[in-house]
C-alpha cells in the first residue's frame, strides 16, 4: 500500500533519512518509533509529498508517486490526511470552516459539505463547538478538530505526527481510544509517529524503529 524503496533525504548537508525501505499494508496501523531527530517526521513529510526524496522511490497502491527530486503525484492528489505536530489549525476559521475547507477545495456541493461537516463533528464529539475558533478550544478539543479535518475527505491514509505529545495522560488515553475507534470505523492506513512507548504499544499493530535516519528493526 505504502512503499518506500531506498529513500534518502538530506537537510542542510546532513543525511536525515538514509536509504530507508519499508512497506505498509492497506488498513494497517504502523507506528514509527524513535528518539527526537531520528527522521520520523521526515518520513511522514515524504509520504505526504510535502518534501522530495533525494534518492529512492515512493509508491502508494503500487503507483509511483515520487522519485529523486520529483513528485509524480502532488500531495493533494494522494488521498492523504495529516495531523501535524503543531496541529496547523487555521486560527481565523471556525471549527466548521476548518473541517469544511477540504470539501470546498474539492468542490463538494453545499449540502453535501454541510452534511459531511456534521458527520465529522459528531464523530469527534465536538457538536457544540461548530462556530468556535481554535483559540477558544482546549488542547484536546483542538486535537479532535485536527483529526476531523484530516478525515473529512475520507483519506485512504492518515498520517499523524506526534499529535498527542502535549496532552496529559488521561486525555492522551482517551484520544488513543478515539483514534482506534475511527480506524476501525473508517479503515484507513494509519502511520503514526511517536517517541512514546505507551502510544506505540497501543496504537501500532506494527512498530518500525528508526535511529539516526536508518531502520533499526521492527516489532509486531
Amino acid at each position: 500500500m505504502i512503499e518506500l524503496r531506498a529513500v534518502s533525504k538530506n537537510y542542510n548537508g546532513r543525511r536525515v533519512i538514509d536509504s530507508v525501505s519499508l512497506r505498509m499494508e492497506r488498513s494497517e496501523r504502523v507506528v514509527l518509533f524513535g528518539p527526537s531527530g531520528c527522521g520520523k517526521s521526515t518520513v511522514l513529510q515524504l509520504i505526504a509529498g510535502l518534501t522530495l526524496p533525494d534518492l529512492g522511490e515512493i509508491l502508494i497502491d503500487n503507483e509511483l508517486v515520487a522519485r529523486a527530486h520529483k513528485n509524480l503525484r502532488e500531495p493533494e492528489e494522494r488521498g492523504i490526511g495529516m495531523v501535524f505536530q503543531d496541529l496547523a489549525l487555521w486560527p481565523h476559521m471556525t471549527v466548521a470552516e476548518n473541517i469544511e475547507f477540504g470539501l470546498r477545495a474539492k468542490r463538494f456541493p453545499h449540502k453535501q459539505r454541510a452534511q459531511r461537516v456534521s458527520e465529522m463533528v459528531d464523530l469527534v464529539r465536538l457538536g457544540d463547538y461548530l462556530n468556535a475558533r481554535p483559540a477558544e478550544l482546549s488542547g484536546g478539543q483542538q486535537q479532535r478538530v485536527a483529526l476531523a479535518r484530516a478525515l473529512a475527505l475520507t483519506p485512504r491514509i492518515l498520517l499523524m505526527d506526534e499529535p498527542l505529545s502535549t496532552l496529559d495522560d488521561e486525555l492522551n488515553r482517551q484520544l488513543r481510544q478515539e483514534i482506534l475507534r475511527l480506524h476501525d470505523d473508517l479503515g484507513f492506513t494509519l502511520v503514526y509517529v511517536t517517541h512514546s512507548r505507551d502510544e506505540a504499544r497501543e496504537l501500532g499493530s506494527r512498530t518500525i524503529f528508526l535511529k539516526q535516519g536508518r531502520l533499526d528493526g521492527e516489532q509486531s
Binding site: 501535524f84 505536530q85 503543531d86 496547523a88 481565523h92 475547507f101 477540504g102 474539492k106 483559540a135
Partner: protein, 526 residues
Amino acid sequence: MEKRLTLWAAAAALAVIGLLPLLTMVTNSLVVNGVFSLQAYQALWESGSEQLALMGNSILLSLYVTLLATIMGVPLGILLGKTDLPLRRSLTALLTVPLLIPPYVIAVAWFALIGSGGWMSSVAPEASKHLATAFFGLYGCTGVLFTAFMPIVILLTIAYVGAVNPRLEDAGRLVSGWGGVLRHITLPSIAPAILFAAILVFLLTLGEVGVPTYLRYRVYPVETLTQFAAFYDFSAATAAAIPLLAITLALLALEYPILRNRTSELRTVMFGGRAHIKLGRWRFPLLALVLAWTAVTVALPLAVLIAQSWSASAYADAFARAGGSILRSLVFAAVGASLLMLVGFFGGYLIHNRTLPVWRGVDALTLFLFTLPGTVVGIGLISLWNTPMSNFIYSTPAIIILGYLAQYAVLPTRMTSAILDRVPRSLEQAAQLSGATWFMTLRQVVVPLARRGLIAVWIIAYVFCLRDLGVSMVVYPPGSDTLPVRILTLMANGAPSLIAALCVILIAVTLLPLGAVALWSGRTNP
C-alpha cells in the same frame, strides 16, 4: 504547477520592469558611435582617487545617519508599538511626517530656523552663528537626513514588534523584567526587520543629492548627477552608478550570514493578542520625552513651513499652482502601492520559500534597483520604453508606475518575506493536503493571516511612491507631474510661502488616506 508558473511570472515581471532597463543602460554605456568601448569605465577608473574620496564621504554620511536613525528609531518604535504610551497613533502619524517632505525642504526649513537671519539669530545670535557654521557640512547633512529617514526605522519597528510570539515574551517575563525580555527576546526576533530598515536608510542616504549639495558636503551621487546635468553623458552616468552595485553586494554579504545564523524562527502564535508593556510611573515622563523629540524634529520644521505659508492667499495660490498634481499624486501612489503589494507579495513568497533557483537573484536585483539613483532608473526606463510600439505605455502614467515598481520592489518583497516568516508552513501544507489549489491556499489561509502585515506593506509602499522624486522627475508624461515634482520645479524662484503651503498640502494628502487605512485596519483588527 500554477505556483511555479506564477512565481516565474513574478520573477519575469521584476526582470522586465527592473533588469531590462538597467541592462539597456549598461549596454548603451558600452557602445560609443556604434562600436564597443570601455571609455566611460576607463574614465571612471582613471579618476579613481577622487571617486574614492567622494564614495568615502557618502559612506561616512550614510553610516552616521543609519546609526542615529536606528539608535533613536528602534526605541521610539517600541514605545509607540508595544507600550501603553498615550497618544501613540497621533505621535506615529506625526513622526512619519518628515519622510513625506523632500529632504531638501527640511534642510531649508532648518536653515530658516538656525541660520543667520533666522529665528534663532534674533534670540541667541552667538549660538545661531556657531550652529549655522556647523550646519554646512557633514553634521548638518547628518542631522537633516537622520530626521528625514528615521520614520522608516520607526514604522518598520512598529510593524514587527507587535507580531512577536507573546508566549516567548511571557516565558521571559517569568524570569526577567521587560528590559531583559526586550533585549534578549523581542529585539533579536525582529532583528531582520531592523536590519532591513537600517539598509533602507543607508541606501536612501547614499543616494541623496539635494541635501549634501545645499549643505556643501561633497558626495558620490553628485558624480552621476553631474554626468547627467553638466555633460549629458549617459554612459559616464551609468558607469558612475555601477560601483553602487558593489555596495549592494556588500550589504547582501553582510545580511545573509546574520540572517542565516539566527536561531529557529520565532513565529507568531496565532491564538494570542500582542503583549503591551505597561509603563506605569514612566508613562508620562516618557510621553514628555517623545513629545519633546517630536517637537524638535517634526514640529519645528513643520512650524516653519506653516509660519511661512500662514495666509489664505498662500494656500489659494498653492492650490491653484498645484492643479491636478494633488489628485494625480494620490492616484499614482495608490495604484503604485497596490501593484507593488501584488508583485512584491509573489516576489516575497519566492524569496521566503526559495521556490525557484533564481530567488537570490531576485532579492539582489530588487535591492540593487533601490540603490540606484532614480535618475539612472528613469533614463533606463526611457531607453527601454520610448519606442513607437510601446508609446501606449511610455506616454501615459503607466511609465511612472513602472518606475515605482522598479525602484521600490525591494520594500514589498522583503517585507512580505518577513511576514510569511510568521505564518507557520504547516498551515499551508495542511491546506495543500486538503486539496486546495495554491491560489486557494493563498487566498483563504496565507493572506488572511498575513493581512495586518500586508496593510503595513501597502502603507510603506504608498509613502515611498508618493514622495518619489528621482524617477518621477525623469519619466512623467508631459502635463502629468506629481505634487513632489511640482514642489521641486516651483522651488526655483517660487515664493517661500508658496513652497511651504505646497509642502503642508503634501503632508495632508498623504496622512489623510493613511489615517483612513489605519482607522479601517483598527476596526477590523481590534
